[in-house]
Assembly symmetry: C2
């Protein structure tokens, strides 16, 4: 069973699992067209019991928790959504899994939990809610015998990305020629390809069988290349064979901008296979 199955990473994961012959349940509040028709839609009302009933009916072997609300810099009005989506729903999901006897969970964290490469220093309230959920998971791991592997993702990219992130913005800029205002561009960026991320999730799922070393494990998942933003945009422009109308320094660095990404321990046995150039080339081939 997958939460967030209709999101960017979720839809890629669901397709891969279905292609490999797995039966996949997608726990959703509203069914969207992005959901693969071969998946089983588990439509919940969002209540703790409703979610449990969905899980019980599908009776999954394992779970992937991808559902998440991302807010780069929160306003006070974002608090309800961050708590509801990243903590309440997460807790309902894992509690429902525990009640159904599901013991394998892959949870998704973020490299932003490690501002300044600290053991724990959240770059944003969003990152703090991710770590706070990890703290709730520790109860279920220890008290209910769940095996929970948390993958802390860097930025991600890939085909058909609906998120208002850098690469989709660069593609729009390429198509329309409109100006893109960016920071001075000195921050390092790291993009993991969604196909590599999906492979990492599959490996993490397999990790719980046979029993893993620990009930709770956390690993980094990131791309192989680390460039600064300016270098990245140059590479993108070079592959696209077209210059981009980027205004460097037209906006300031974000408060608590991550200048140097965290380089935590990678998921053992996994490494990124898709070089950034190939990944970008594929995306641009689709676009142009």
């Amino acid at each position: 069973v997958v939460s967030g199955a209709q999101g960017f990473i979720g839809s890629h994961l669901v397709r891969r699992l279905l292609d490999e012959g797995h039966s996949v349940g997608a726990l959703v509040r509203t069914a969207k067209s992005t959901l693969d028709r071969r998946a089983v839609t588990l439509l919940s009302d969002g209540s703790t019991e409703g979610i449990f009933e969905c899980l019980k009916a599908f009776s999954p072997d394992a779970a992937v928790h991808l559902a998440s609300r991302y807010v780069a810099q929160h306003q006070a009005s974002d608090i309800d959504g961050l708590i509801d989506d990243n903590l309440r729903f997460g807790c309902q999901f894992v509690d429902g899994l525990a009640r159904c006897g599901v013991t394998r969970l892959v949870n998704i964290g973020t490299s932003f939990e490690h501002f300044h490469s600290d053991d724990y220093k959240p770059a944003s309230l969003y990152a703090a809610t991710k770590y706070a959920f990890h703290a709730l998971c520790a109860y279920y791991a220890d008290a209910r015998g769940m095996w929970i592997v948390t993958l802390k993702l860097s930025d991600t990219y890939g085909p058909s990305d609906p998120r208002p992130k850098l690469i989709p913005l660069l593609i729009r800029c390429l198509k329309t020629g409109e100006e893109l205002k960016l920071s001075p561009g000195g921050q390092s960026v790291n993009f993991a390809h969604v196909d590599d991320v999906v492979s990492a999730i599959q490996l993490a799922l397999a990790r719980a069988e046979p029993p893993p070393v620990s009930q709770m494990e956390s690993f980094a998942v990131r791309g192989s290349e680390q460039l600064n933003l300016k270098e990245f945009v140059e590479l993108f422009s070079e592959i696209a064979g077209s210059s981009l109308n980027v205004s460097w320094g037209a906006r300031p660095y974000r408060d608590r901008e991550v200048m140097v990404p965290w380089l935590g321990q990678l998921l053992p046995g996994w490494q990124p296979r898709i070089p950034l150039k190939s990944g970008l080339r594929n995306i641009l081939a689709d676009v142009v």
Copy 2:
């Protein structure tokens, strides 16, 4: 400003602060008769903006976050309340404080975050929500320059305790002679007197001025004596001068019963002053 000002510890803290001449705001959803009349009632509608407006109007120098929902062993139906009270409200409170420029916060955790005396192993989902809130606080400490001292309390006791806890149950048992069913009684218990807890909170408040060593600190607050439950009830009975109708072993140990309390580092400069015997004698003098 104090959250949870109408609770057991809160009402004792508010009285002490008022007695010492401080102006105290009590952030509440519903005003109760337990609130000292000298306190300023800050009645919020529970929304993020409502809480912020209350805080802004009072303009506190420092804050104590005592509001909490305690659930010994959660059912699925407890999840909403635990998330709302221990995470959403806590986050709204600390976010509102940050927006008001308040930098001193004393937060209350629980020794139950340290099952088997582990660095972090929650004995219950309640304890996990307490630690998860601590994870949210880390964002405000680092990003908003707050100084947050978390006091992790053992069991607490004192006069006029309305909570359905062991000592109030023993008092009822003493008065009515009715049977009290307890576990086999081998677990160690540790009770901190509420007056000692209030002193610890005051010292923790003072700790943030001058600037403390770290933006985030956590300390233990507990009573000086550690007895097993059977010894404790014998002591109680001896002080009361009356035997109690206790059925030992009539109920099993709780799942994840804490058999040996965590002995974390005490708040520097603080130690419990009220011996258990005196504390119990005072309570029993009030009762009999």
